[in-house]
């Protein structure tokens, strides 16, 4: 018991680790602020392509989405950061993370948006078109608001997944929160900084998860 407390819940070490872990948190948040909007926009565009009437557009979108959902994000990240330089493209860790997450997130967000678009009854678009709205106006004012609302809990769940997944950025030495905590651990031979980081993830994500459950209940009712 004593050993667990000193190894994992050592307050003294946590206090010492705190500045570095908070610095890491800043980078985690920065990654989130960049990759979540990118993934949402990419996912929405891919979803629109995946329900397009043009067969070539539709099938290429579906193929890309399948590909990036099937490739493990860790492998993708290592490939972009360590593999692409052999093809003459050297990226900073942050750029590699942004691109890797953009591809991975977009694929997941695309599947969610696609389900949302398909959940909107065809009659909605017909009614809008019958009043003279263009295809784009119909999409923006009638279809997308309903599609998004129908899959809001899924979108938010995926945002939570993405926030947790940013810890993968540590493999390309980007100093996000887990990387910072790991660094302090290797210096102190003590795992408490990791527990500290986990605690911060929990404090950050728990309210979000609660919120999602409430949305789900409201949509179900």
């Amino acid at each position: 018991m004593e050993a667990i407390l000193t190894q994992f819940f050592n307050v003294e070490i946590m206090v010492k680790a705190l500045p570095l872990v908070l610095q890491g948190l800043g980078i985690t948040l920065l990654i989130c602020v960049v990759v979540i909007p990118l993934g949402l926009v990419g996912g929405l565009l891919a979803a629109l392509a995946a329900v397009s009437r043009n067969r070539a557009v539709r099938w290429s979108a579906i193929a890309l989405v399948d590909l990036f959902r099937a490739v493990p994000p860790l492998v993708l990240l290592i490939f972009i950061y360590a593999g692409l330089p052999f093809a003459g493209l050297s990226l900073s860790p942050f750029a590699a993370v942004a691109i890797g997450f953009f591809l991975n997130n977009s694929a997941y967000f695309a599947e969610i948006f696609r389900a949302g678009l398909l959940s909107v009854h065809k009659g909605q678009a017909e009614a809008a078109r019958s009043t003279g709205l263009t295809q784009n106006q119909t999409l923006i004012h009638v279809v997308l608001p309903q599609a998004t609302r129908n899959v809001l809990p899924d979108l938010m769940s995926n945002v939570v997944e993405v926030i947790k997944l940013t810890s993968l950025a540590s493999v390309v030495s980007l100093g996000e929160m887990l990387h910072a905590a790991g660094l302090v651990r290797s210096l102190t031979y003590n795992a408490s900084p990791l527990v500290l980081a986990a605690g911060i993830y929990l404090a950050m994500l728990w309210p979000l998860v609660r919120l999602i459950s409430r949305f789900e209940r409201r949509i179900a009712s």
């Binding site: 009659g123 017909e126 019958s130 009043t131 003279g132 709205l133």
Partner: protein
């Protein structure tokens, strides 16, 4: 010219010539010719699968016709250079399933096209929207969302949504088929009121009593063709065609 004289020389509101439409190998419209005069209420009758709804949906090109010509007040509806969005705002459509936008209030349902298609500023659009809701007796429900309205109220809001654009013709696609019987009356009353105010209407429906009371002309369709047409009296009392007789016999006792 007087207004009456102008109307006399003006082209008919809706003209359909040689309309054909297939889904796969099945030809659901096999050459439809139809003229709807100004202020006329034409009632379309026929068994399900006869092509009534498809004919209606071809008029505003929710279905793309395979062949044929359609004009609205003399302006071509079909053809490659036609701005279909501009034409559609001159043709109101009411659907069997109402198709109100569930994420918008009744008033916003009505004002969306006024603002986005006609480009009216919000206050003006809302004033027109309230007038349209008033015409269907639902001004008090302007702020309500579709989920909080009865089926009959939803359909009346849908009518207001089409009416607000001041269309030249209103197309009704089985407007009361999805309603509980006790809610049908309110919707038909609104339609009758529109007819009294001089709206040109093309109505696909099974409400025979409404056809008798309000229609100028009844058309009977079967298997993608117009089989017979005439005044309500002619069609209901002395139908000539055997298929019309069989169809009406099944409906006698109803409506």
């Amino acid at each position: 010219m007087t207004q009456a004289a102008q109307e006399a020389v003006a082209p008919p509101t809706l003209v359909v010539r040689g309309l054909r439409k297939s889904f796969g190998s099945e030809e659901v419209l096999q050459g439809i010719d139809l003229t709807v005069a100004r202020r006329e209420l034409v009632f379309v009758l026929g068994p399900s699968g006869s092509g009534k709804s498809t004919m209606l949906r071809c008029c505003n090109r929710l279905e793309e016709p395979d062949a044929g010509e359609i004009t609205l007040e003399g302006d071509p509806v079909t053809g490659p250079k036609v701005d279909v969005n501009q034409l559609r705002r001159r043709m109101g459509m009411v659907f069997q399933a109402f198709n109100l936008y569930p994420h918008l209030s009744a008033l916003s349902n009505v004002t969306l096209a006024l603002r986005k298609v006609r480009g009216l500023p919000r206050p003006e659009a809302e004033a027109m929207g309230l007038t349209a809701l008033d015409r269907v007796g639902l001004k008090a429900k302007a702020a309500s969302y579709p989920a909080h309205l009865s089926g009959g109220q939803q359909q009346r809001v849908a009518i207001a949504r089409a009416l607000a654009l001041e269309p030249s013709v209103m197309l009704f696609d089985e407007p009361t088929s999805a309603l509980d019987p006790e809610l049908v009356g309110d919707v038909l009353a609104v339609m009758q009121d529109m007819k009294a105010q001089g709206m040109t209407m093309l109505v696909v429906s099974h409400e025979m009593k409404f056809a008798r009371d309000a229609a100028d002309r009844v058309i009977f369709m079967d298997a993608g063709r117009i089989v017979e047409q005439g005044t309500p009296e002619q069609i209901f009392e002395t139908p000539h065609h055997e298929r019309t007789q069989t169809f009406l016999a099944r409906f006698s006792g109803r409506g």
